[in-house]
Symmetry: C2
Subunit: 332 residues, 2 copies
Amino acid sequence: MGHTMREVAKRAGVSPATVSRVLNKTRYISVETQRRVLEVVRQLKYFKNVHARRLATGRSDLFGLVISEIANPYFPEVIRGFQAAAWDRGFDVILCNTQYDQARTKSILRKLIESDVRGVAVMTSSIDKATASELIDAGIGVVFCNVGPAGKLVSTISIDYQRGIEQAIEHIVGLGHRRAAVIAGPGDNRTAITIKDALVAGLKKRNLNPFPVINSNYRVDAGASAVRAMLSTTDKPTAIFCGSDLIALGAMSALEEAGAGIPEDISVIGIDDISFAFLARPPLTTIRVPRERVGTTAFEALDRMLKLKRRKGADYYLETELVVRRSTATAR
Amino acid sequence: MGHTMREVAKRAGVSPATVSRVLNKTRYISVETQRRVLEVVRQLKYFKNVHARRLATGRSDLFGLVISEIANPYFPEVIRGFQAAAWDRGFDVILCNTQYDQARTKSILRKLIESDVRGVAVMTSSIDKATASELIDAGIGVVFCNVGPAGKLVSTISIDYQRGIEQAIEHIVGLGHRRAAVIAGPGDNRTAITIKDALVAGLKKRNLNPFPVINSNYRVDAGASAVRAMLSTTDKPTAIFCGSDLIALGAMSALEEAGAGIPEDISVIGIDDISFAFLARPPLTTIRVPRERVGTTAFEALDRMLKLKRRKGADYYLETELVVRRSTATAR
DNA sequence: CTGAAAGCGCTTACAG
DNA sequence: CTGAAAGCGCTTACAG
């Protein structure tokens, strides 16, 4: 605790109200008075107290961003996008990771409500709508990802995996593949299910009966062990569609270990295009999710919704797109 | 803004003070009164307002964590460690990324001071001691990484690269290498300089005259272009020590592109052991920096320092260690 | 263009 | 074991 506005006011020979107005530029104050006030502020190295301000105004300049695990390479760009959008408009963000922990999730929600955030972006499936209803009850806007539909105080962002998946399947078919497998994410994860269903449906539509179709988790080693199981069967796939890049990287690792050539013997397709996808050798072909835009869109969705009288949410859609990477060595 | 403590008090037939005491467990309150209060809290879905609390207590439960860029894979574990340590003790953290931007850095510092944080962990070289002095002036404790020495309100964490580097050099010498190059980080980055000096000194000590020694930046493509320049010379190195894993991954990528075999033709050593190091093919041999411990130590350093009368800081040391990874394919 | 005063929603000595 | 009251440091109608 340093100085207070009162001290600044006294030294500048004005009232606290005037200091407040100068600092917040909330009213025209004579140039001379401004100068005096700012001079004292500089001398004293005065900073106003944001807690007092928030209490006095009764509205906070805070938004929450909830993710599951910061080490998951899906999130950095989402965070950056959200934060940038919030900062641009003068808002601050509280970043929370659930770590997939129930107790922690509870305490995050409490903390967010106590902090009187205006809105919360829930970018992980580790919190569902029911859990987040505490936020809604408190009058806080929420935006979800891949959980519909919108409603009062609820907006959604839906990532359209369809398009990227179709492109990927065309790509694989064009390469002459006839046997495709699917390693999906966790069976209890909504996004993972959506992706799996889209993959299976898309493959069937092209008369490729996907087999096997495995549920995995989002850790790299899970992709690897799924592949090991797959390779011990007789009817081996020639292409593997993975529910995320991490799964794909694990799959590639296991394939290499088993001596299978990629893409000569088998093709692997991921989803997300995490920033490390291009480092994989051979480079990972994947379906890009516009993660930074997921973040900015999430903020904008909240911001817009909260400006509406009825605070009725909306649904936003973001496209995916196939990214084909060739080994630069091969490409020359 | 939902209900207030006053409303809860009225409904429960007690005074606001009692409600406060029940909720904060700051005094013994009769079981019956507690029950009544908590019942009303539940009914009303009451949450206390943290801003009012912070203003009233006059001390915040906030710590700042400053990094440069969230997409840099060095940071996630640091963040996780810091956050976990803070949460464990009931503190919250404000995460800020400078994005290497001066104006943004300024505004981060202001925000941190206005938020009345108790301490700030500055985990990026993009803020130096002079810049951070604003925090110290405001009575806020600071912990730096690889910037010494400690002082009033200043603690430091020093990562001892020496040990890992010596192990790495022994390893390389043991493999029969005689010509080593160094691709260091940016020449204006203190940590990068420390690492470079340690590498050069260590190599000389083993009678390996490092050549060339190049300054790069921490982006992957920089490592790649450094290698390209290197390969066009006559006296090619057989081992390349890189100032970070990202540089090393870029270097490996350029080597592959040029048709050089790793490690048959040339060995590459990174620093950090980012979580993706093991995905590189061939797997990246690197010097591990205990990043999660950097985070927890940073918090503990602040916490301890702030409990001292004189708030005199201390220096903490963290060891590094060589991690040799063999391609699993080769290992069988 | 500026000030006096009330109020934001808590906490905490002080008193009983 | 509990309450009345002052105070935390701002902001903002209201008034002039």
